[in-house]
């Protein structure tokens, strides 16, 4: 029963991921990414990581996808409808397949070491205690990184001063 759910979640994840890297429409790619992230959230539930599944849906589904869609909206160009692969894509496919073969070989080779099928549930309380006791300093640094990234994004993305005049002119491609 659990295995059937795993195959459903894995199929949704991989379907969304293939959609992201194959579709030529950027907005469809963002929506495929949402499907894939939802599949990953399902995988987290199967691993008894329910808090992480919640965070996945909230942060990825609720925040990151929205930010990406806003970014698409604000940088809308005519090339978005058909934004395809560059001319090195056969090489990229070769690298990707080779890497998968290598990883699969490595995982299968030592799968005998990890053949237990018991998963231990970790309660949210346990997770919070670990996060705020053992990982307190990295947690604070992560907050600092978030605030720096926030300020940095505002500084980089705000209206350009005069010395940043466009060379080609965005008006020529903007619609």
């Amino acid at each position: 029963m659990g295995l059937a759910f795993f195959y459903i979640a894995g199929a949704v994840t991989l379907f969304g991921a293939i959609g992201v890297v194959v579709t030529r429409n950027v907005v469809y790619a963002a929506l495929f990414l949402l499907v894939s992230l939802a599949g990953v959230a399902g995988t987290f539930v199967l691993l008894y990581a329910e808090f992480l599944a919640l965070v996945q849906v909230l942060i990825y589904g609720g925040a990151i996808i929205i930010v990406i869609l806003f970014g698409l909206m604000l940088t809308r160009t005519s090339e978005y409808e058909a934004s395809g692969e560059n001319r090195r894509w056969p090489f990229a496919a070769l690298v990707s397949i080779g890497l998968f073969a290598l990883l699969a070989y490595a995982f299968l080779a030592d799968s005998a070491l990890y053949n237990s099928s018991t998963r231990e549930a970790i309660s949210v309380e346990e997770l919070g205690r670990e996060l705020f006791e053992q990982w307190a300093v990295p947690f604070e640094i992560a907050s600092l990184i978030l605030i720096v990234a926030l300020i940095g994004a505002v500084v980089i993305g705000r209206a350009a001063p005069e010395d940043d005049e466009p060379e080609t002119g965005p008006g020529s491609t903007q619609r």
Binding site: L3, F6, G10, T13, L14, A17, V20, V21, V26, L33, S36, L46, L47, F51, L52, V55, Q56, Y60, A63, I64, V67, I68, G71, T75, T77, E79, S83, N86, W89, F91, A92, A93, V95, S96, I97, F100, L103, A104, F107, S111, Y114, S116, S117, E120, I122, L127, E130, L131, P138, I145, L146, A149, A153, I156, A160, D164, E167, T168, P170, T173
Partner: protein, 101 residues
């Protein structure tokens, strides 16, 4: 349902992300492929933590940090992409060759 299932799922997701990063032209598409790779890493982290003999929350804690950094990364990357779009009228990374190369 064993660890190998989750490992192979993570490997497949990561390799699709690698293909996306190497093959796509649009900067936003590359960003999305990077998100796929980060999620593949998260799947493997949580799976390894869940299948340990001694239960530990460390894998999930690191996955939370990965999600945090991913959020910061998306915000910064989109700001850079918007800036590039304003100054060059394109988000196509093939055409961004200010530093030569």
């Amino acid at each position: 349902m064993m660890l190998i299932h989750f490992e192979l799922l993570g490997a497949g997701l990561f390799c699709l992300g690698v293909y996306g990063v190497l093959a796509r032209r649009s900067g936003v598409m590359i960003l999305m492929a990077v998100e796929l790779m980060l999620n593949a890493v998260n799947v493997n982290l949580v799976a390894f933590a869940a299948f340990r003999d001694i239960p530990t929350a460390t894998g999930q804690v690191i996955a939370i940090f990965v999600i945090t950094i991913a959020a910061a990364e998306v915000a910064l990357a989109l700001a850079i992409i918007m800036r590039l779009f304003r100054s060059r009228g394109s988000v196509n990374v093939d055409q961004i060759d200010l530093m030569g190369g």
